[in-house]
Symmetry: C2
Subunit: 251 residues, 2 copies
């Protein structure tokens, strides 16, 4: 995660953030190096990737509780004894997953807050950024959404706080648009939660979007378009004005 992309496009996010491949798994390894018995990074990183990926395949298909460590052992090709060199316990594995994802989201939210953009650009950055995160870390998001209630109470609370902070980010962008007389909105908090809901669909309902052949870019544009309509936003006159006969392409 280096510089913030100058232009708010999906490609820009892909370049700025490393959320896949070896560099990503290396950072995951660094994040809980202490909780692990294996010292050789080369070996550890490879097996960590195996373990996490297999956990997502199994848990996201039939549930984390329903997945046994025997399942995980045969899916990874690592023996049960071997697994315990990488995880403290089964519950610990779930906690680590939530912890890693939350840390990444925290970073992104932190970066988004330091940005000084006009309201529309801010909204676009938040939505594109979050959708890109969800796309890259889709199994992580899905796991944390569905298995949250199986984790410690404290971790559950932190996850809810994180969602509230994300909503606040949207509310702030909306409020600043209102004070600049670009937006009109009676209930910014409700609109923010509606936007969050639509974003979360991207990992919750992948079966639907795959079925209907909806791309990430198309979906992100749709959410932004909906949001701006709900905000009674009109594009500046130099751009083509929002026509009543067709959907303007804000994105």
């Amino acid at each position: 995660m280096a510089d913030w992309p100058n232009e708010t496009t999906i490609e820009a996010f892909r370049k700025a953030w490393t959320l896949e491949g070896e560099p990503f798994w290396t950072s995951v390894f660094e994040m809980h190096r202490d909780k692990i018995q294996i010292k050789n990074p080369k070996v550890a990183i490879g097996n960590l990737e195996k373990i996490f990926s297999a956990t997502f395949r199994l848990a996201n298909a039939k549930g984390f509780q329903a997945m046994s460590l025997r399942d995980l052992s045969s899916e990874t090709g690592i023996s049960m004894g071997g697994l315990y060199a990488y995880i403290g316990s089964k519950n610990d594995l779930g906690s680590v997953i939530e912890g890693v994802l939350r840390k990444y989201i925290d970073q992104v939210i932190g970066e988004l807050m330091t940005q000084d953009l006009d309201p529309v650009a801010r909204l676009r950055a938040i939505i594109y950024g979050e959708i890109f995160m969800m796309q890259s870390l889709s199994p992580w998001y899905y796991f944390c959404y569905m298995e949250l209630k199986g984790l410690d109470k404290e971790q559950q609370q932190q996850a809810l706080d994180l969602e509230l902070r994300f909503d606040s980010l949207l509310v702030d962008a909306i409020q600043s648009g209102i004070s600049q007389k670009q937006f009109i909105c009676d209930k910014p908090a409700l609109l923010a939660s509606s936007i969050t809901a639509q974003l979360q669909q991207w990992h919750l309902k992948q079966w639907k979007f795959r079925m209907k052949d909806v791309s990430m870019e198309e979906y992100a544009a749709h959410i932004i378009d909906n949001a701006l309509r709900c905000l009674s936003y009109r594009a500046p006159e130099k751009d083509s004005e929002v026509p009543r006969q067709s959907i303007p392409n804000y994105a």
Copy 2:
């Protein structure tokens, strides 16, 4: 579930459908009378309510898989042996819950399809109706959403089909509004899924709405308002026109 309410208000739905109290549990009992060993309805209905309610308390708090039948036994006050007079197996209990909810939703969708209303009224009826269902059967909805992947493949498919049918209901209303030149919408399917997403929040994120003191009526009105804005809908001139300075109250 008798006549369709003349006016599309929450109160009308409450009168038309019995989704709580003894009549509701009686209908649940009738629905799987054959799968049960207890013949005396008085006794069976009371214990069924105990068992289902306790299941929701436990499973919706820590997950169905994590809930043991010993938990369920102590929560209901019915012995483990006793439980098996009411359920075929633990998995069966989950299946029955999904089956009951789906049957109720099927009925509602069926009724909604026979209605002949103008597009806006149709949209309102669908949204109010579904939100009222979700409110009344909130633990059922939440359970089925979160535990679906633990059920049989066939049942999972039927649940997805049901969601697609619901989306279609919305798409039909949108399309009819488009052909009557009341709505403008490039991607009815995407908008429908966004509306569904916002509706499902009502049971998925009750903690948030409770925290922010949002009532069911307020939330339903918000969804409708958002939808009509996304559809570029303008209220007929006899009503107060949609002003740019404040939110019109469509609901």
